[in-house]
């Protein structure tokens, strides 16, 4: 009996062990619930991991807009290229030696590239589950060689892309090019992902958002082995790509080609504008390069060579070069003096081989003296315009101080489009330089007069203009008093042109004064400095410039337009160190006008063009890679 009682007691003790077992079960479930709570409710990371697992967001690239010239000739179009993509998580175990051989790359390059891809600082969108750009723009031959072996490289894929192709070797500065986005582009605009293309220069850059279109996206379901299992929700959330818009440039590619030909071996620029519309007909910057060397993978190499060239072929001198305008500037002075009533067309000033006054001397060449305005323009008399400025700045009846006179003068200049960026639709435009009263107050500590700054009246001294601004001056004169901001794009497909490029900007000078200056410019062609430009086919008006510069030989400048009535083209030719305006500027300008107005050059002109093509002012660089 005792034993049985003992065992009952023991059994009672043992029964309490059910609490240990039950308690263990309760504790386990509580721990698991807490774990689930942290996994499912406290962290968003898993959701993102799950999405990047299952959703293959395949970007659909839109076709970039094509670019043609004003006559509909296709300049830039797309051609297929092939990018090699890699999914890091799938490429493990690939025979790298074989891969490098097939792609013709070195082992070092391979390893360096892999590091780059994984570096989240340089490649912010990196995920080991998605396709990353490994190598871009394989040519068709490279692609076909690689594709044969592709099955041996799991994790590597081919993505078909399109790259730019150019029909003409001209207009590199205008057209610009397309390259891979840099980290700063990705930072600035979250449209871009590593490996995307972006316009780098020219209209490719300034019209980037119009040309690129909108990327589309396909959301695909991808299983663990990377196989596509269909579209997510039958493509309900897919976005179709919107193709980029085509651009029509205002450039005449024939004219552009001639300009580049004529500027061979010379530094400088030619800008031609259709005065009535502000459309830029050609914009040559020399030296230039063939845009085709910037296609595909050779872009990097070419870019480096161009950047190292001492003659700076990457610089678009037409809008970035800031030069003294020389005598072409005298037209703007004549207009200012006429409008301000300092002179009348009949006012004559003396010129005895220049402007001599109180020990100051500005030289001039031989011509009759004294002479009124029109012959002064025609013969490009320095003395006349120096006197004009002297009388304007010294006129205390009209202007209380020299500063007031200066400010008035500056306002005229600004109204003609000087001193500020004109606002052309190209990146990198410079504003030039028009001094104002505070500028001189600072430079001369308040003690200055018209004599101190007399050289600005003949386009020297502190005055600097871009060739575009000089051409625009020509266009303004051709229009007799207004200009439309020059632009290189005539038409964007399916979009009205920005009103910025249709609005007339009137200067502060009346139309009738412009007529006087036009007459002077016509006289210059008929019997003055621009005689070479004279032709029997149409009435050319022009003005030469011989701009002194402290670095060497004078710059040769020509500004003109034709025909005199209903002008079709206004032009500026600027040849660095080309000495007299009549040496290079006028003949080149004349050939350009002939090409544009007649649509072709006469035989004699062709011969002359060849002569100029072969006149070289500096040793050309032959290191540049040839176009493919």
């Amino acid at each position: 009996m005792e034993g049985k009682q003992g065992s009952t007691k023991a059994n009672y003790e043992l029964e309490k062990r059910k609490y240990v077992i039950g308690g263990a079960a309760v504790v386990i479930i509580i721990v698991y619930l807490l774990r689930l709570f942290t996994l499912q409710l406290l962290s968003e990371d898993f959701k993102m991991s799950a999405d990047s697992n299952a959703f293959l967001k395949r970007i659909q690239y839109p076709a970039r807009g094509a670019i043609s010239d004003r006559n509909g000739k296709l300049l830039v179009y797309n051609q297929p290229a092939y990018d090699v993509m890699v999914i890091m998580i799938e490429q493990i175990g690939v025979d790298t030696l074989d891969l490098c051989e097939s792609l013709d790359i070195t082992r070092d390059w391979y390893e360096h590239r892999m590091e780059e891809i994984k570096d989240r600082k340089r490649n912010p969108g990196y995920s080991s589950y998605t396709q990353q750009l490994f190598m871009s723009q394989l040519s068709t031959e490279e692609f076909s060689r690689f594709q044969e072996k592709l099955f041996r490289f799991p994790g590597f894929y081919i993505r078909k892309r399109s790259i730019r192709q150019y029909n003409y070797p001209n207009g590199a500065h205008l057209l610009g090019d397309v390259g891979e986005v840099g980290p700063e582009d990705i930072e600035a605009d979250n449209y871009y992902r590593s490996g995307d293309y972006i316009g780098k220069l020219g209209v490719e850059r300034s019209y980037e958002t119009v040309l690129r279109g909108e990327k589309g996206m396909e959301i695909l379901l991808r299983d663990a082995r990377g196989r596509i299992k269909g579209r997510y929700q039958s493509g309900k959330f897919d976005i179709a790509p919107i193709p980029g818009r085509n651009l029509t440039m205002s450039i005449d590619i024939e004219l552009q080609a001639l300009g580049e030909r004529l500027m061979k071996g010379k530094l400088g620029s030619i800008v031609a504008i259709e005065p009535s519309t502000g459309e830029v007909l050609c914009m040559v910057s020399s030296p230039t390069y063939d845009p085709r060397i910037m296609i595909g993978r050779q872009r990097g190499k070419s870019q480096k060579l161009l950047a190292q060239d001492p003659h700076k072929p990457l610089l678009n001198r037409a809008i970035m070069g800031q030069y003294p305008p020389g005598s072409t500037f005298k037209t703007s002075q004549a207009l200012t003096f006429l409008q301000e009533g300092i002179i009348t067309p009949g006012t004559a000033y003396p010129c005895s081989h220049g402007f001599h006054f109180r020990g100051l001397k500005v030289g001039c060449h031989g011509h009759g003296s004294p002479l009124p305005l029109i012959p002064a323009i025609a013969t490009s008399c320095n003395g006349y315009f120096c006197w004009g400025l002297y009388y304007m700045f010294g006129n205390r009846k009209k202007y209380k101080t020299v500063q007031d006179a200066m400010t008035t003068w500056k306002d005229y200049m600004v109204s003609m489009g000087f001193g500020y960026k004109l606002g052309i639709d190209l990146p990198g435009e410079k504003r030039g330089m028009i001094p104002n009263a505070p500028f001189y107050d600072k430079a001369y500590r308040g003690s200055w007069s018209g004599l101190t700054v007399i050289s600005i009246s003949i386009g020297q001294g502190e005055v600097n203009l871009t060739p575009l601004q000089i051409a625009n001056l020509g266009a303004t004169i051709a229009n007799r008093g207004y200009y439309i901001i020059p632009h290189v794009i005539k038409e964007v497909q399916g979009m009205p042109l920005d009103t910025l490029y249709t609005k007339k900007h009137y200067t502060r000078v009346q139309r009738n004064y412009y007529e006087t200056v036009v007459t002077g410019m016509r006289q210059a062609v008929l019997g003055g400095t621009c005689r070479i430009a004279n032709t029997s086919f149409y009435e050319v008006c022009g003005k030469t410039g011989t701009a002194q510069n402290p670095h060497g030989q004078d710059h040769s400048v020509f500004m003109g337009f034709a025909p005199r009535e209903n002008p079709k083209i206004a032009i500026c030719v600027y040849v660095e160190n080309g000495s007299w305006g009549a040496t290079y500027g006028v003949p080149i300008g004349a050939l350009m006008m002939e090409q544009y107005i007649n649509g072709k050059l006469s035989e004699a002109s062709q011969a002359r063009a060849t002569v100029f093509e072969n006149k070289h002012l500096y040793k050309t660089n032959d290191d540049l890679p040839p176009a493919p």
């Binding site: 023991a10 499912q40 898993f46 959701k47 999405d51 663990a224 082995r225």
Partner: protein
Amino acid sequence: MDSKRKKKSPSLFKSLDWLTIFIYMVLLALGWMSVCGASYDYDQAGNIIDFSTRSGMQIVWIGSSLLLAFFILMTDDRLIESLSYIIYICFLGLLFATPFLAHDIKGSMSWIKIGNSSIQPAEFAKFGVALCLAKVMSTYNFDVRKWRDFIICLILIIVPMGLIIMQKETGTALVYSAFFLVLYREGMPGCLLFTAISAVVYFVIGVRFAEEPLWGIEEMSLGHGLVMLLIQVFTIGLIWVYGGKATDDKQRTKVSRQILLYSLVIDVAAILIARFVYPCNAVWAMVFVCGASALYLLYLSMRDRVLPYCLIALFTLGSMGFFYSADFVMNKVMEPHQQMRIRVLLGLEDDPRGAGYNVIQAKIAIGSGGLEGKGFLNGTQTKLKYVPEQDTDFIFCTVGEEEGFIGCAIVLLLFLSLILRLLHLAERQPYTFGRVYGYCVLSIFLFHVFINVGMVLGLTPVIGIPLPFFSYGGSSLWGFTILLFIFLRIDAGRNRLQH
């Protein structure tokens, strides 16, 4: 008397525990939904009840399980009881024969092909072992606290385990260790369970930190140091708990303080020397401390003739021996994939393509479910096969992804209520047989839920065992159904008048 007996033996319908059956049914339904979600194929969208798909087949398994349950309830529990030994021996024979009959499926030799489908005897053998254990332990005068009886139990458990390990199904074999919980309930000393758990802890800590240096001393392994420290702490703790019973409280306090002081001084001194004076492996000093403490305890037990000190000394020495042999087993005996699984679990390997891939993908799938989940059949991770074995061992991922935290909590609480209900039913059995069998059932469920959900959540080793009623497959579903319904049948007969 006759009429009274009839009154006292209520009908089967009334004495059945319908609450358990209800939970079973709900779990089956939720399990089927999960299999649908996990085996859904985009190429065959919409055919979740087509018998050629996994979800369609699962309906067949569920239907046949219900039929099976019905037949079990129709039999007599006394018949089942009397057949216990025969069933056990049959299963032993079957388990022994399996490797010879089986086809190799992913390295496992546990599947026997019958017609078009395969069955896994190891899944069914559980109820045979449970019945046998219950039968043995209910014999007259059986007491698991007696060495002889304990060893009989041990043999009954270890033999099928060994046979299953021979089929390369280590995971399923490990399930049988759940029976030790039953032995504990029936009187196995708690310190044995404590010993077993501390063995697991030594192993986990030892392997986890084996490669890391202790306090920047390259010669010393953090894992080894920590384990030695644990052994010292356990030794002192055991003296504190059991020393009082052996001698008196004063003596106990004195001994434990002494050992604490010496251990502390020598450990700290050795580590400081290794750190600042001469870099050496000071773990050996800690090993020395453990050994010296054990010898001292042995000396005390000899001198004062007290057994507990001797046992504690054996525990200490055994711990050290176990730890160093486990180190050896881990590196030399285990198969590479098992080693890898353990190392991944302990955070030593995190190669996402390697063995850790399963655990990472499981966490991603569950974590992406959020509070409410993505909805039935809307999960992406499991369907696109990111989670391996997504409709068998990793089925809980689908619950997590499609039903979210709410669904997971419901499932876990259902399992908890099932286990606690079984605990209650087991305790109300009038006979040892029923109680032991009940504990066997609940221990197996507890072990499966603990390991399976734990591995999916990255908390326990990745041991490939199914989640009851959820994982796809006939064998496991039938196995669990038989296990559960035999107990329900026994429970239904509890009110029968004693003969």
